[in-house]
């Protein structure tokens, strides 16, 4: 078995195969959830609250109902019953939902009614006609809110407090010390595809077109909530227009499902862009204080990372920003502390690189500040404090090619010769030029996943696993793994994914989807091949008969003797002789507890940024980004590069652009569209390069894969902030960096 597995690598894995669904996408044929229009389908539109706290005193349901084309208005009184309370959290990764359970308003943008009509336009206008009247109460929506508490945990069960070594003693004895506070902003999910659902009931059976990052989890949560049997719930989710952590499952889609139940017709619900700023989770603001100390030679002696962040009044998710400080730099004393406030906002949640994105920009800035006070080149300083083992746990890394990342990135970027002092470089037009570096890191997770493989009598293969394509290329990367696992060319493989009827592929999250579902696919293929091999090896008529001891190789639709590849036979022949239509294999994957116990598992990278700053106007442009990343085995370099580019651009967005403008008087977000909620445009990213640094990891999982989906943000945001300092000499600790801060540097 292990021989076969080993030999199955090679033909597809590692190839820069273009997206198999690319043509569908560029020709508009890829059917996203909201592209479905079952016959008789009606349109649902949410009415959302404009106050952030209080109650809905009145809705003009009559006017809304009277509007031509309106079929029904769903409010608390007529909302179909649920089997569980919307605040129930018995299913993992569940958050409280706002499903019209009462008249309370807990945040601005909370759904308060649903209008169902024959057209989108009629439903939209009728929703406006509801003209709610509220009893508003004073709101608290900023980090300065009263009532800070020390949480029990942050993120998903990470300890809120951690002390390792004597931080105070370390700081007291340090030759150089810095203490600085960094602020990161409130950010909202802006995937191109807003949250949506098309729901069709048939008695108690429900079929959904619903973009989700976790088919099985969503199925479980919804079935429990709606009080129906899991097997009666069918979810199609072949393509997501981005998820980034927001599409595990949030409340608003459930309202579309309930609307369909109420009216007895299929219903489509699509959130508007503005409605994304409320009920679908967000990244909360943070205020992070870092205290670092270094010895005379630049060796870190202590790190204390303290975070103040926020959650909603009714549920808890705390951006785990400080976690990064226990994974990156070596120091004898490391402490992490957290505090939080409760705000009249929706509940924060997972947003690409939760905790790490926000924590990394603070840590990388602070490290840079300390390097500067030590008079050291920031890259040398990072190398000086290179963690040979995971700092707090002391575990060896399963693999860590970060040194190579620093070296390759620096060489490619041309880091050598960078002046130590800031404000020393100008371009031909007199623009200030600055260079910065940041370390990228992301833990390698594994989730439970399953797959089913079939080898058919016609020599073709089938792989089934309910994986999720958020745009990252799952249709392609998993097919590559599947093809190799079955010893077939991609053209002989049918790959089925994106449906809840298929084997549970876990979640597309935590940068672990390829490793987890890929591992299951790899195992399923292996089992199918093993079954086929059993048939051949035991059959005296097969040229492979008796090859059991030397083993066989599966390649190109044939099993071959390992010791003599001229002897072999096709899968089709083996099956035909055995009188079978197919053989089947099942596989699963999950974290290897023993390995996780022994090793620390992280992907790493080094990001180098060049920015130019107009010395009088303060306008900034990141003119060059070079990232070098080591994340284990690369299944498809083209797709992996795209993930790094996307992550790095997000990091740029984090440092320079993204920010929700919350009106603290009302709790309303004042920039709920892409004209005003800035993300980078093409002109903001003239040059992004990603280098794939070779790394072999025998421990992390069967395929040696670490995640690539989120790491690109980390490191990049800090590298840009550090480059802005190097260009201007002004250390800006409030993100995103704004013109009024940089123009003061003039």
């Amino acid at each position: 078995m292990s021989e076969i597995q080993h030999m199955r690598h090679g033909s597809s894995i590692g190839q820069p195969v273009t997206r198999r669904d690319g043509v569908l996408k560029v020709t508009g044929q890829a059917r996203y959830a909201a592209d479905n229009h079952p016959s008789g389908m009606l349109h649902a539109v949410l009415a959302v609250s404009r106050i952030a706290r209080g109650r809905v005193a009145f809705l003009d349901i009559q006017s809304a109902r009277a509007h031509p084309g309106v079929v029904e208005v769903m409010v608390t009184a007529n909302r179909p019953a649920l089997a569980l309370h919307p605040d129930d959290k018995s299913v993992p990764f569940s958050f409280s939902m706002d499903l019209l359970q009462d008249d309370r308003v807990r945040y601005a943008g909370q759904p308060i009614a649903v209008v169902i009509a024959e057209t989108l336009e009629a439903a939209t206008e009728a929703a406006a006609l509801l003209a709610p009247r509220y009893e508003a109460e004073p709101v608290e929506v900023t980090l300065d809110a009263a009532g800070a508490f020390v949480p029990e945990s942050v993120g998903v069960g990470a300890p809120a407090e951690m002390w390792h070594g004597d931080v105070e003693a370390g700081l007291a004895a340090a030759a150089q010390r810095i203490e600085a506070t960094y602020e990161t902003p409130l950010q909202f999910h802006n995937a191109m595809e807003p949250h949506c659902v098309v729901a069709a009931w048939d008695g108690d059976a429900l079929s959904l077109d619903l973009p989700t990052q976790g088919l099985a989890l969503t199925q479980m949560r919804l079935a429990a909530l709606l009080g129906i049997r899991m097997e009666d719930l069918h979810i199609r989710s072949p393509f997501l227009g981005g998820g980034f952590g927001s599409k595990l499952l949030t409340g608003p889609q459930v309202l579309g499902i309930l609307a369909a139940r109420l009216v007895g017709w299929p219903v489509k619900l699509v959130l508007t862009r503005a409605q994304m700023y409320g009920p679908v989770s967000h990244r909360s603001p943070t205020r992070q204080t870092l205290r670092l100390g270094a010895a005379q030679d630049g060796a870190l002696v202590a790190i204390h990372h303290h975070v103040r962040t926020a959650t909603s009044r009714f549920d808890e998710f705390l951006e785990p920003s400080a976690g990064v400080s226990q994974a990156v730099y070596a120091a004898p004393a490391i402490a992490i502390t957290n505090e939080a406030v409760r705000l009249d906002t929706g509940t924060p949640g997972f947003m690409r690189a939760p905790g790490l994105a926000s924590g990394s920009i603070a840590l990388e800035s602070a490290i840079d500040e300390l390097a500067d006070s030590c008079g050291m080149d920031p890259l040398d300083f990072r190398l000086k404090n290179y963690a040979e083992v995971e700092p707090v746990s002391g575990k060896p890394f399963s693999s860590k090619a970060l040194r190579e990342c620093y070296a390759e990135g620096a060489a490619h970027f041309g880091w050598a010769g960078r002046p130590l002092a800031p404000r020393r470089m100008r371009d031909a037009d007199g623009l200030l030029v600055g260079w910065g570096v940041g370390t990228a890191t992301f833990p390698a997770h594994m989730f439970q996943a399953e797959a089913r493989a079939v080898l058919r009598r016609d020599g073709s293969g089938l792989m089934e696993s309910g994986t999720h394509d958020m745009g990252q290329g799952a249709w392609t990367a998993f097919a590559q793994i599947a093809a190799d696992s079955l010893g077939l060319g991609l053209d002989r493989l049918e790959f089925r994914a994106g449906h809840s009827d298929l084997p549970n592929a876990g979640i597309a999250g935590g940068s672990a989807h390829t490793a987890s579902a890929g591992g299951a696919i790899h195992a399923a293929g292996g089992q199918a091949i093993a079954r086929l091999a059993e048939l051949a090896l035991a059959d005296p008529r097969s040229p492979l008969f008796g090859a059991g001891n030397v083993g066989v190789v599966a390649r190109g639709g044939r099993l071959l003797r390992r010791d003599d590849e001229n002897r072999g036979e096709s899968y089709a022949d083996i099956l035909a002789r055995a009188g079978l239509d197919m053989v089947e294999g099942r596989g699963s994957a999950a974290a290897d507890a023993a390995a996780t116990e022994r090793y620390a598992m992280h992907a790493h990278g080094a990001v180098f940024a060049e920015v130019k700053v107009d010395p009088e106007l303060g306008q900034i442009r990141a003119t060059r980004l070079v990232g070098a990343f080591a994340a284990g085995r690369v299944i498809n370099p083209r797709l992996v590069r795209s993930q790094y580019y996307g992550g790095m651009i997000w990091g740029l967005s984090f440092a320079l652009h993204e920010r929700a403008a919350m009106d603290p008087r009302t709790g309303r977000i004042m920039n709920t569209d892409l004209a005003e909620y800035h993300v980078p445009v093409n002109a903001d990213v003239p040059s992004v390069e990603a280098i794939l640094v070779e790394e072999q990891d025998p421990h992390v999982n069967a395929l040696g894969i670490k995640g690539v989906g989120e790491i690109g943000i980390t490191g990049t945001a800090g590298a840009i902030a550090n480059a802005v300092w190097h260009a201007t000499g002004v250390r800006i600790r409030h993100f995103p960096i704004a013109i009024e801060q940089t123009s003061r540097a003039a």
Partner: protein, 355 residues
Amino acid sequence: MNRFEYVRPRSVAEAVAAAAIPGSAYLAAGTNLLDLMKIGVARPERLIDLNHLPDLDIIEQLPDGTVRIGAQVRNADLAHDPDFRQRFPVVAEALLSGASAQLRNMATVGGNLLQRTRCAWFQDTASACNRRAPGSGCDARGGENRMHAVLGWSEHCIATHPSDFCVPLVALDAVVEIEGPAGRREIPLADFHLLPGDTPERESVLAPGDLVVALRLPAEAAGFAAHARYAKLRERTSYAFAVVSAAAALRIADGRITEARLALGGVAAKPWRARAAEAALAGATPDAAAFRRAAEAALAEARPSGDNGFKIELARRIAIRALTLAAAGTPDRLPALPASAFASSSTPRPRGLHV
């Protein structure tokens, strides 16, 4: 969006007659109006579609050298018109620094003049806004108002006019031709937009039914072509409204400025002509000291309307930048990033962006 009647007039006269009925609004490309209808800020009962009117999309040169631009000329068509861009490069540069290529392909000259403020509270029907709902108050005051006015504002409204296009136009003495129920009239662009005073709901001199039919730039405005630039400070490299902007146009002879034009954007409820600065520049040598003096004069009356005091110094600096660029001479070709601080900085060629 409310239900509305849709009217497609065949002539200007028909359009004006239709629009004179209360509750009507002209529809040009709709890149601003339709957005406002979707968020409930504009709720017209009747849309008068200008897109099928004859002759409104023509750029013509009159015998005296005046250029006349029909109200329905698309922003991109005007900016890329070879004659126009040669004679009025600063206008082309301002146009191309605005919005995105897709929007410019649609947006019209008339619509650009009459686009509404981007003030967030104006766009939020749950907020108090004197401009949208007279007498309701102004929630921008006391809010985050870094994009708001530092010149010509009143306690009733501190909004800015967001157009880039209008800034060089007002500097070059553009004239607006208006056809209304009372006949045809024309008015200098400088007098077209109104400062808020205590009637912020009145944004321009247009009366109900009034249609902008064309814009005119006088022949002499082309006399600045050799020294005319637009500079725009924004928070992204492209596709963002101006934090502050400036259009500068100079005539230089024998090392002296014989005539100067300067206007500012992003600072007031109208494109802001800086006549005091122009007077200060007349006869001066085009150098840093003169530009600084002019910028001081341009902003002499500025005061913050909230937490936007930083804009006053930035407005001075953008004025200096535009004047400096103008003095250096209009480039033969407009930069790939028009009006940008990074306009001349060479764009690195990405390696490895496409595998």
